[in-house]
């Protein structure tokens, strides 16, 4: 359900190819002493391409894509109008997404959606409806080396393909729409080396919840996270869907950006999603070279740590704060009213596959309702194609359109007073999914699906050993 008024998604990248003369940034691109964040900001600095930017520097950068969604876009439009700005710097880099309360749940929301549609039509910018912005950006727009800013904290998800992607507020997005630029402070970087093997029934979401539990809700505030793999065997365990989950959820410890190395998994994903040609590794044009952007080997990190995947158990976080992380055993059998699988954090096809694996041939517990929400139209279509939707419906679960609805308590799965929900969504804050007295626990889609069947918080591992 994409209305693209003036540009196809691939065109904005082609424009970048034409614009940037790679020779100007080659020295920075090849510099081994820069972290990912330092390198991108140095390359995108509007003043000079010869200066190496370091943590703490404040730099004005060129922005490749600036997004707002239906709970932040109306305020951005209001600010732009109040400033009297009548034209956009580049409509092809201006993205409006109607995803949070889609389709409109009431008249007030409908009027704000209308405001966004009229703005998009007037300015010929990109308007997307019915896919969650972060997933749409991943599927159609993001590429390594881009600077992507969004009026949504989980914009950092696009770090999974090697983009510098960060959340900001509505009025600053309006400023980017007007000028194509914004100031950024160069962040310090934390390097996290991953090693070992995930145990059965343990997933990327468990890893990031584990990390947040260790460092706390502000443990990476203002920082860039760089995830690294100790060898190819580790790398293979991190599909693009898993990387997206981690980059997205890194917001919950305050990270400014959260990036993965650009490798063959990135290139395969971009190729399958029609953004680069098959033979891209030895290319000569600017886009191809930029695809291979990497942090320098001798970069200086604020902190370096290693996480052994084997040591991680299924994690459950909550209630009220994301850093209140427990191993599954501590909360086993806690009764639940709702199980929610979806959101930009865990609503991709890999997540729906795990949920289908567990729900297949089983019934959702009679005291529990189960809601499944895909992250995008593309994921929705794939779930139908693979037969997952039939599995959910037979199990007694509800399958909704792609939206942020339940995660933000606006529609399609809100909670009543004192209700308890286990959820694969992004946050468990007080009143996040509805009543102030309701409680939300966060977990992987596998843990949520197992809990839906058992009517209480359940260990998903048994569903993997027995099959």
């Amino acid at each position: 359900m994409q209305t693209t008024s003036s540009s196809s998604s691939s065109r904005s990248i082609h424009q970048r190819e034409e614009k940037q003369d790679f020779s100007l940034i080659k020295n920075i691109f090849d510099d081994n002493s820069l972290t990912f964040a330092e390198k991108i900001i140095s390359m995108k600095n509007v003043e000079t391409h010869s200066k190496k930017c370091r943590p703490g520097d404040i730099v004005i950068v060129d922005v490749d894509l600036a997004m707002a969604q239906d709970s932040t876009g109306p305020l951005a439009i209001r600010s732009l109008n109040e400033m009297g700005i009548v034209s956009l710097h580049d409509p092809a880099k201006t993205l409006l997404v109607i995803d949070h309360t889609f389709p409109a749940a009431d008249e007030k929301v409908a009027n704000l959606h209308k405001l966004m549609r009229e703005f998009a039509l007037k300015h010929s910018c990109i308007l997307v409806e019915g896919s969650i912005s972060h997933q749409h950006i991943l599927e159609y727009l993001a590429a390594p080396g881009m600077v992507i800013l969004g009026a949504d904290s989980h914009t950092c998800q696009a770090g999974c393909v090697g983009a510098f992607a960060a959340g900001i507020g509505s009025t600053e997005i309006a400023a980017v729409w007007a000028t194509g630029q914004l100031w950024l402070r160069v962040p310090e970087t934390i390097k996290i080396m991953l090693s070992g093997n995930f145990n059965k029934g343990v997933f990327a979401r468990d890893l990031i919840l584990h990390y947040i539990g260790e460092v706390g809700e502000d443990g990476a505030n203002y920082k860039s996270l760089e995830w690294k793999f100790s060898n190819d065997n580790v790398k293979k365990q991190f599909s693009m869907d898993s990387r997206a989950c981690i980059s997205n959820a890194s917001m919950e410890c305050g990270a400014k950006i959260s990036v993965f190395p650009v490798d063959e998994i990135t290139r395969k994903y971009l190729h399958e999603n029609l953004r680069i040609s098959e033979d891209n590794s030895s290319g000569t044009n600017n886009m191809r070279t930029e695809i291979d952007i990497q942090a320098g080997d001798s970069a200086q990190y604020k902190d370096e740590l290693e996480i052994q995947l084997d040591k991680i158990e299924p994690q459950v976080s909550g209630p009220d704060n994301v850093d209140k992380v427990h191993s599954i055993g501590e909360l086993a059998n806690l009764e639940i009213d709702q199980a929610f699988i979806g959101s930009s954090t865990n609503g991709r096809i890999e997540d729906l596959e795990v949920a289908a694996h567990i729900l297949k041939g089983r019934k959702v517990h009679r005291n529990t309702r189960c809601v499944v929400t895909p992250a995008s139209v593309k994921v929705y279509e794939e779930a139908i194609r693979r037969g997952y939707v039939e599995i959910y419906l037979e199990s007694g679960a509800v399958f909704t359109n792609a939206t942020c609805g339940a995660c933000v308590g606006t529609h399609l799965g809100a909670l009543g007073e004192n209700e308890i929900c286990i959820s694969s969504s992004s946050r468990n804050f007080v009143g996040r999914m509805g009543a102030l007295s309701s409680k939300v626990y966060l977990a992987s889609p596998a843990t949520v699906a197992a809990s839906a069947i058992e009517g209480g918080i359940a260990d998903p591992r048994r569903y993997f050993y027995s099959s």
């Binding site: 009026a151 904290s153 959340g167 507020g169 505030n221 804050f429």
Partner: protein, 192 residues
């Protein structure tokens, strides 16, 4: 708070000094507490947003605020969502400044953007009681507790951020200068 009262408070801030009594909060006051999604996503009117300021803490909080009151909080104030409606709701409910041991990144940026003074004072914990009268100097980025007399220096920010704040936020700044503040100060940026 009415528009007239808001403008009066803004004039005081432009002069550099405001006074107000303190409301104490703990760590990790996130943006869902400051204004829940279902309220902020259904209006584009800042005075309507103000009715839900700190709803997650106390749905009637906005009625208890006296114009110019100050929020004093612990670590990581404003974590979570990027919603600019969070500082907007506080500002239009009559809060004249937020002081915290530390701020979440996006809330901090948004506060300057919309003209709500955000003062990071790492040693503030235990130095202010509920209801203490505080005097805040926006030009100097200092806070004085008028009960104890103690003066605290907040984390200093680049000049363009302070200019934006003193002039009432990015929109007001742009209306006056027809330029964004980081553009005007671009030559002097590296010194900060």
């Amino acid at each position: 708070m009415s528009q007239e009262e808001r403008e009066q408070l803004q004039r005081q801030q432009s002069d550099g000094v405001t006074k107000g009594k303190a409301w104490l909060f703990g760590d990790n006051i996130n943006t869902d507490i400051i204004i829940p999604f279902r309220f902020k996503s259904r209006t584009n009117d800042p005075y309507e947003m103000a009715k839900y300021a700190m709803y997650g803490y106390d749905p009637d909080f906005h009625k208890k605020i006296t114009n110019g009151d100050v929020i004093v909080a612990g670590r990581n104030f404003g974590g979570g969502s990027s919603r600019e409606q969070a500082p907007v709701a506080l500002k239009y409910a009559g809060i004249s400044a937020v002081i915290a041991q530390s701020f979440a990144r996006i809330f901090y940026r948004n506060s300057f953007t919309i003209g709500l003074p955000a003062l990071e004072i790492s040693e503030i914990k235990g130095k202010v009681n509920q209801g203490d009268e505080l005097s805040i100097n926006i030009s100097r980025f200092t806070v004085q507790n008028l009960r104890s007399g103690e003066i605290f220096q907040a984390h200093v920010v680049p000049k363009f951020m302070r200019d934006m704040l003193v002039e009432g936020g990015l929109v007001e700044y742009y209306k006056r200068h027809k330029q964004f503040p980081w553009r005007i100060h671009r030559r002097s940026l590296p010194i900060f």
